[in-house]
């Protein structure tokens, strides 16, 4: 937020002045009103691995993060480029495998990935789009420019908080909001519906208005609130596995008026649990026969099955090369430097310097399975050292980033906390980015972990119109 101590960056000046003018009591009241609004709407998430009190309100911070127009333009083009390349990569990996044959990405890296699905070989997906809903985590590098920390290509969540934060902020700072010229985000649900409709299968009998549903694992899932919210905003049915059935490779939902054919499924269920006949047999969340219907082209799922191979943290290191290979362009947004632990030299370096690095398990998300060197104990470091030696393919390491900080209103005053940014990218007929995203905040002082499951919160993100 600041250029130099006490000197706010130009686009923060108006906010800064307004804040200085407000009595702390006023701010506290606004924060309370906002908190209450979240509680009443039931905007909660579930924390796993905790017996009681598992339903929590997602902490929200009142002070918006502001992103100037020109910076957003760069993010937009960078992410558009990235999603295009990753889709070409997936299409290639599940068909001819040119990029593997040309030795750009090591074959064994792809085939050893836990999220690689043999079942997807030679299956053609509509428009060749595997990833149509993506949430990419960005951080600022020390020089102030944005870099990609992580791609979330499976079932990214959090977009409902982006919309809820905006709704609350508009109430709390109406004049400030208007004067700033903030780009709207409210059309996200409509854009998402249009994206899903654009994927509808060619065999659909109702091509003009295909039936789209949102498949949720159910009321106990951590993101259930988001599922109900998005289904309601899009005006589509929120279904569970038990509401669907497959007959002759066609998917139907059970309605009071009889069976109704389903064309597109926005699924918020992981690959593993989609179809007990094809993936995990013990899954009670899925629909038996769903994958065959998918193979037959009678139903489309978004995202496609098997996209996890492209957001594997070890494959991530190759994304700049992937962009160059398919598009012949230089990546607009850089990666964060990443050490591959399968490489002997890099592994030795990491093991020696583990105290200064961040080690991540490649297939995990949500901040689980992670070691932050500077904040770790000798025991934890030893444990990770052993794990790396046992399974080098399973881990990567990155330098500890000093995530940029933004002011948050905590305990009655503004305090700096680490933040990252997750914009949401939609890819249907074309690529759409709603100008904004979820800014996640590490609410604990000094903490670098922004995940909601690990004590993170969020704040509204204002992308300026000009």
């Amino acid at each position: 937020m600041f250029e130099a101590p006490g000197v706010p960056r130009p686009h923060y000046q108006a906010l800064f002045q307004t804040l200085l003018g407000l009595p702390p009591e006023e701010m506290r009241k606004s924060q309370q009103a906002a908190d209450l609004s979240f509680l009443h709407q039931g905007i909660t998430f579930t924390v796993y691995g905790n017996d009681e009190g598992t339903e929590r309100v997602f902490p929200n911070d009142l002070l918006p993060r502001i992103i100037p127009h020109h910076e957003w333009r760069k993010i937009e083009s960078g992410l558009t480029q990235r999603i295009a390349a990753l889709n070409l990569f997936l299409e290639d990996v599940y068909h001819r495998g040119r990029i593997l044959a040309d030795g750009i990405v090591p074959r064994e890296l792809v085939y050893s990935c836990r999220h690689f699905r043999r079942e997807m070989r030679n299956l053609t997906v509509p428009r060749g789009i595997y990833v149509s809903i993506c949430g990419t985590d960005l951080v600022r590098l020390p020089d102030g420019s944005f870099a990609v920390l992580e791609d979330n290509l499976r079932v990214p969540s959090g977009v409902s908080y982006m919309l809820a934060n905006r709704k609350v902020l508009k109430k709390v700072f109406p004049t400030l909001f208007r004067d700033y010229g903030v780009s709207p985000v409210d059309h996200y649900a409509q854009a998402l519906l249009a994206t899903l409709r654009a994927l509808s299968p060619a065999s659909s009998t109702t091509r003009h208005e295909p039936t789209v549903v949102l498949l949720t694992p159910g009321v106990f899932n951590s993101a259930y609130f988001e599922h109900t919210f998005l289904a309601q905003q899009m005006g589509i049915e929120l279904v569970e596995g038990r509401d669907l059935l497959v007959h002759d490779n066609v998917v139907y939902m059970r309605t009071t008026a009889g069976l109704k054919r389903v064309d597109v499924i926005y699924r918020r269920v992981d690959d593993d649990f989609l179809d007990p006949l094809c993936f995990r047999r013990d899954s009670g969340l899925g629909v038996p026969g769903l994958f065959n219907a998918y193979r037959a082209g009678n139903v489309v799922m978004a995202n496609a099955v098997g996209t996890g191979v492209a957001d594997d943290k070890a494959v991530y290191a190759y994304v700049p090369a992937i962009i160059r290979y398919y598009l012949g362009e230089d990546p607009i947004l850089p990666n964060v430097e990443t050490y591959m632990l399968t490489d002997r030299l890099q592994r030795e370096f990491v093991l020696e310097n583990i105290g200064e690095l961040v080690v991540k398990a490649v297939g995990e998300s949500g901040g689980y399975g992670m070691l932050i060197g500077p904040h770790s104990t000798a025991e934890q470091r030893e444990e990770f050292r052993q794990r790396i030696l046992a399974e080098p393919r399973n881990y990567i390491a990155q330098p500890t980033l000093s995530l940029s900080r933004a002011p948050c209103f905590l305990d009655g005053e503004a305090q700096a906390r680490h933040v990252d940014l997750r914009p949401y990218i939609l890819y249907g007929e074309n690529v759409t980015l709603v100008p904004g995203g979820l800014t996640r905040v590490a609410l604990r002082r000094g903490s670098l972990v922004v995940n909601s499951s690990q004590g993170g919160g969020s704040k509204d993100t204002w992308v300026l119109r000009a």
Binding site: T228, V239, D243, H247, M253, T256, L259, K260
Partner: protein
Amino acid sequence: MTGKRQTTMLSRVADSLYWMSRYLERAEHTARLIDVDLQLRLDQSPEAGSGRWWRLLEALQAPAPEDGKIDATSLTHILTLDKSNSSSIISCVASARENLRQVREQCSTEMWEQLNRLYLQVNSTTANEAWLLHSYVFFRAVREGAHLFQGVTDSTMSHGEGWQYIQLGRYVERTDAVARLIGAYLSRLPYSKERGGDQALDQAVESEEYLEWVGLLKSCAAFEAYCKRHTAELRPLRVAEFLLLNPEFPHSVRFSVDKVHAALRAIADLTERKAEQPVRLAGRLRATLSFSQIDEIMASGANHYVESVRQQCGQAHTAIHQIYFDYPVEAELAF
């Protein structure tokens, strides 16, 4: 009207709305019955009221205490705060909330908040002596909470298919509960043929029985409505007629069956589905009730009549289930 279906409703969602409504109606009914019973007891000697415990259990289809001993404390506990009894008030309210929670995107925010509030209130109650002494406050809160929910539902939710399932649940439950209550009274009341036989039914009841009949009426929230219609002179025949056959009073069996029938016809229209079975069953029951006369009912055995009403209501419930919630897929795929 285009005749074209406007919206889609999942069977699971309809099922949840139906049961949510049934459970809430059950909680309200139970609360009223216990409250009336406890108040009635204040006016009676302990012996006079002892037979009523069993009637109450029978009317609510609740399990008897394990040790066979029955008194105000144990009974009230079983019926209100006992989580192991699936038809206690606390279990019913929790089931209603759980059903609504699974279909939250289908109801209005106001509905959810109201039911959630009632749930939190009931759940934070702990039974002790002081609570028992003032339990009427609790029962009133449950009744009011249910009434408020009904009002909020009617004024904030579209009166479309989902709303019709809520109506259906409420009135199927009410038909069954009121019929069962009348049955339990008629089979256990001390009216007897020795004291004048059937003629006695059409005369004002004597003072010791008066309280029992007031209790029955109040258990259906019907005392005031009855007095308006027939004055405070209580005749068993008139009470039975009022509760069974009155077309205007919302807790009478006939009124409830009319509502069931209306909801079923509306749903059949909305889903454009050949739902002859439930509509026919409800229609037949409705016709029976509108053409019955109370003296004939009494002559041929009131208990038998009430049982038959309950049975037909149960058949309608099963038919609803089979047509809308859990139909065989093979038949659907055939056309």
